[in-house]
């Protein structure tokens, strides 16, 4: 077996090549696919992190936990659900100032059928008109029948 002579120069050259192979990709931003340098670990400033977390909590509108995905999908699709939402379905924690405004009851009327329509308005003012008119007639007639008193 033939012996290869190892000199100090050849050893230094070999070590230099190895070091260059290991360090060059980091310098060239991972131009070599065989080795990708890991990103630098960010240094955590605990004071800044605490401030950021507090700020994020203050800015967040709501934290929502959805457990009933069917109701969520129905609402996203614009389909009315007959189920009444229970407290366990959706839990929202939000700042009072950011709470959505309550829906004011509007005087809607239903004239055509649609899925989830409200029942038509079937209240009539006619009975009230009739009773009020009869009462006014009776009172007026009684007053007219009162004879004016002579001085």
């Amino acid at each position: 077996m033939r012996r290869i002579p190892v000199t100090l120069r050849s050893a230094t050259t070999a070590m230099t090549l190895c070091a260059a192979t290991l360090l060059m990709p980091a310098a060239l931003s991972a131009q070599f696919t065989t080795f990708v340098a890991p990103p630098r670990k960010a240094t955590v400033d605990s004071a800044k992190a605490t401030v950021a977390v507090a700020k994020a909590r203050a800015d967040s509108v709501a934290r929502m936990t959805l457990s009933d995905m069917k109701a969520w999908v129905d609402s996203a699709a614009g389909v009315s659900s007959t189920q009444v939402a229970s407290a366990s379905d959706t839990v929202m924690t939000s700042a009072p100032a950011m709470a959505p405004a309550e829906r004011q009851p509007t005087d809607r009327t239903t004239t055509t059928f649609s899925n989830g329509a409200i029942a038509p308005n079937t209240a009539s003012p006619l009975p009230a008109y009739l009773v009020a008119g009869l009462a006014a007639l009776i009172v007026g007639t009684l007053l007219l029948r009162i004879r004016p008193r002579r001085a």
Binding site: N115, A117, A119, G133, G140, L144, R149
Partner: protein
Amino acid sequence: MFRERADVAVRVGAASLCVVGATLVALAGGRYAIGSYRADVARRLWDERQAQALVAQARDRATIAASFQRVATGAPVARLRIPRIRLDEIVIEGVGDDELNAGPGHLPGSALPGMTGNAVISAHRDRHFSRLDELQLGDTIRTETTQSSGAWVIVSRRVVGRETPALFQSKEPLLTLTTCWPVRYFGSAPDRLILSAKPIAGTWADGARARMRGDS
């Protein structure tokens, strides 16, 4: 002098009350009279339509497509009978003031009674559906259209808010009766009484059963 003026004022006020009262009575009475007249017209039209349908069927010219054409607002579409409260009315297409003044109204867009889907009929609480609150689960309802006639059984009775979605599509034949709640003559109507009924098997003709299944 003062008493004479007071007497004059009282007499003027009394006359005004009489005028206002007479106007209100005339207004309400007139509306009721118009509604009664329109109900009579609807019943007459319904009888004519039924007669025409019978003649057409006898001549075997009645086609399902022709009978399903869109019904004009104000036209009679069905006959509704509820034996328990002795109700026998002609249902009119539409739920506007004029239609509901004449009779129970069929909500446009909903199915006709006896067809696949939800057939919605509404009426005033002080008029045709004044005794609707007396109906209970298990009571029967009869409907007639030009295509079918049969009986229904009430399977659901609920009171919902006036803004609450209460009418939904159905893949099965369903009859829904609605009126204002509470059923009284005066005051606001914050809620709605909703009765749902399902067809009673055996009371519908074969053709009606096929339409209920949506075969046509």
